[in-house]
């Protein structure tokens, strides 16, 4: 019987410090057994459990895109004991990845539509996966306009800065990068909170679907902006977080009503969430 608790062994191939506070690092893993990479077939929006033997596991969104071959990437915020240990690990170290877990963004439904991505802080990981996936030559024609609003507290707290700069220059994706505030006189992008920038930059909800990922406070204030723009709750897509252990809907802690965030989520439409107890 296949054991869903058994992680695939991986090697850390690259570690990138993402933010000026050094609290966020991106880990690039290579699978030790080539067959495991084939088994680890994922879709943007899914997550996995990063496993450090002797320390434990943490559920983290997959930041790489399935169109990027030969590795998987995760961006990890240093919070508790597993993430702190992980931040002290080195290139070449062996650990585990268990997954892919959960559902994904509604890619079929998004086909032929304008895609509005609203992200805040370090919740941008599966959104990076999604952008890379949509911009891939094989996929770009499946979607209409792609618009991204992404904000962080300061310029130094933005993730994937080099990629953001590349996307800025492209004409097949519209970027609206913003920071809460900055003292940098060279800053050439927006200043303001994500909900306000969304209200300013997004003009229509017509044939559009919005994916929102960020801290609870950002989601709380972005939701009415999108609803005012005319996005129905079915076309506002959210990715949730919750304390998790098993990741496969067994251990019982990440439920919202009868749904488990780990197995039935993490992606829910606002319409689905409105049917569930507001306990997350």
């Amino acid at each position: 019987m296949k054991n869903p608790y058994l992680p695939y062994p991986v090697r850390i191939d690259e570690i990138t410090t993402e933010t000026e506070d050094k609290n966020l690092k991106t880990f690039k893993f290579a699978f030790i057994n080539p067959d495991d990479e084939k088994d680890f077939t994922y879709t943007p929006g899914q997550f996995a459990e990063l496993s450090v033997a002797g320390k434990g596991e943490i559920p983290i969104g997959i930041a790489s895109s399935p169109t990027e071959k030969g590795f998987v990437k995760f961006t990890v915020n240093k919070v508790g004991s597993v993430t702190s240990h992980l931040h002290n690990m080195s290139v070449g170290d062996i650990m585990g990845v268990r997954g892919p877990l959960g559902n994904w963004y509604p890619w079929e439904e998004m086909e032929g539509k304008n895609v509005v991505i609203v992200g805040g802080g370090f919740a941008f990981t599966t959104l990076r996966s999604s952008i890379i996936y949509m911009l891939h030559p094989e996929n770009r024609s499946r979607f209409r306009d792609i618009t991204v609003v992404y904000g962080a507290r300061t310029p130094g707290m933005l993730l994937y800065k080099e990629e953001l700069a590349t996307w800025e220059k492209r004409d097949d994706i519209k970027m609206h990068i913003t920071v809460d505030g900055t003292t940098d006189p060279e800053w050439k992008y927006n200043i303001g909170f994500v909900p306000a920038i969304t209200e300013k930059k997004i003009s229509s909800a017509e044939n559009s679907i919005a994916i929102v990922c960020g801290p609870p406070i950002m989601i709380k204030f972005t939701q009415p902006v999108l609803e005012k723009l005319g996005f129905p709750p079915e076309r506002i897509i959210l990715s949730l977080e919750m304390r998790m252990k098993c990741g496969i809907g067994k251990c019982g802690r990440c439920n919202i009503g009868e749904k488990y965030v780990c197995k039935d989520g993490p992606v829910f439409s606002l319409a689905q969430l409105k049917q569930l107890p507001p306990e997350y």
Binding site: K2, M95, E241, K250
Partner: protein, 345 residues
């Protein structure tokens, strides 16, 4: 016909004889109460009990169980790579399990063994476990098995059933595995019609004795957000001290935690029973906790058992009516009262 009758004085020898083929679990008296224990040479089984204090869920689902292991040795090429821990899934039997506790395994099975994922540890242990039940001649006033699809002599979830007939036991096979274990029992005499009639009379009498009920007929039609927002949760939870006795004793509570333990170079990934009564159960790394308040946790327990579970699995409630949570709650919170409140809301 494999049904057999045993004299009580020969019964323990018969059970001990089964150990050649099975690992046997029997009720054992421990102070003022009973628990299921593995039958060893020195064990004295005691079948004179209402129900065991702890449910036999640990026989299938240990309170603490090693799932994976590895050697953290930087010299080794296997360093940091977790492997499945070795397991012994040879045949075992629980002798004397009450029908309610047997039904509980079927309730829990929907969680551990479904088309989404099969939990290999639970499934393999459950499949190697034979349930030889013992009907309840004298159900407790707190028992309500007949409200939730069972009964004191319910045969539905058992492999075999024992009837306690004054000085003798009648054991009746219900499944192939049940018949097999009976045929492996040394001694005994074939059951006759008179004994079968006697057992039916005892069962009928016991059925009448379960008078306690849990109304749940209107729960499925209720709106989940409506019940969630009901005004009575603070009141229900008022006296709760979040001790977790209810979840610990409950045969249908399955929630678990996963922890890594190290001893020298040995690393074990262990799963332990957990409880939704603890605020740590849902505390996130950021400090946010969706069930920070006591009443939210109490509400979660009742909503899970009586609303979320039936909605999710399109089944009955997640409760087999054993009444342990009612008997041992230190502040007298009673699921029968809460179910009635939810059903009428």
């Amino acid at each position: 016909m494999t049904d057999k009758i045993f004299n009580k004085k020969d019964w323990f020898d018969t059970l001990k004889g089964l150990r050649n083929s099975y690992r046997i679990f029997v009720p054992v008296r421990e102070g003022d109460f009973h628990n299921f224990r593995s039958l060893e040479d020195e064990t004295i089984p005691n079948f004179d009990f209402f129900n065991t204090r702890l449910s036999p869920k640990s026989v299938v689902y240990p309170q603490s169980e090693r799932m994976l292991e590895c050697l953290n040795d930087t010299e080794s090429p296997e360093h940091g790579v977790l492997k499945e821990a070795a397991k012994d899934y040879s045949q075992q039997a629980i002798i004397g399990i009450r029908p309610c506790d047997a039904q509980a395994f079927q309730i829990v099975k929907r969680n551990f063994d479904n088309p989404d994922y099969r939990d290999p540890l639970w499934v393999q242990r459950f499949e190697s476990t034979i349930l030889v039940g013992m009907g309840c001649n004298a159900p407790c006033p707190t028992c309500f098995c007949s409200s939730v699809g069972g009964g004191p002599f319910s045969e539905e979830y058992l492999d075999a059933i024992i009837f306690d007939l004054q000085g003798r036991y009648l054991i009746k096979g219900l499944t192939e595995r049940g018949n097999e274990i009976i045929s492996n029992m040394q001694g005994g005499t074939p059951a006759d019609v008179k004994v079968i009639d006697e057992s039916k009379a005892i069962a009928a009498l016991a059925n009448e004795r379960v008078t306690s009920t849990v109304p749940s007929d209107k729960l499925t039609e209720k709106s989940v957000t409506g019940l969630f927002g009901a005004p009575f949760w603070e009141d229900v939870a008022f006296s709760c001290i979040n001790c977790g006795t209810c979840t610990f004793l409950c045969p249908t509570c399955w929630c678990f935690d996963i922890q890594d333990e190290t001893c020298g170079k040995q690393v074990d990934r262990v799963r332990n029973w957990d409880t939704c009564m603890s605020p740590l159960f849902t505390l996130e790394g950021s400090g946010h906790n969706p069930r920070e308040k006591k009443f939210q946790r109490v509400r979660q327990r009742f909503m899970h058992k009586l609303k979320y579970y039936p909605d999710k699995f399109k089944s009955g409630v997640q409760c087999s009516g054993c009444g342990r949570c009612v008997r041992y709650c230190p502040v007298n919170i009673d699921i029968r009262r809460v179910a009635a409140m939810m059903n009428e809301y």
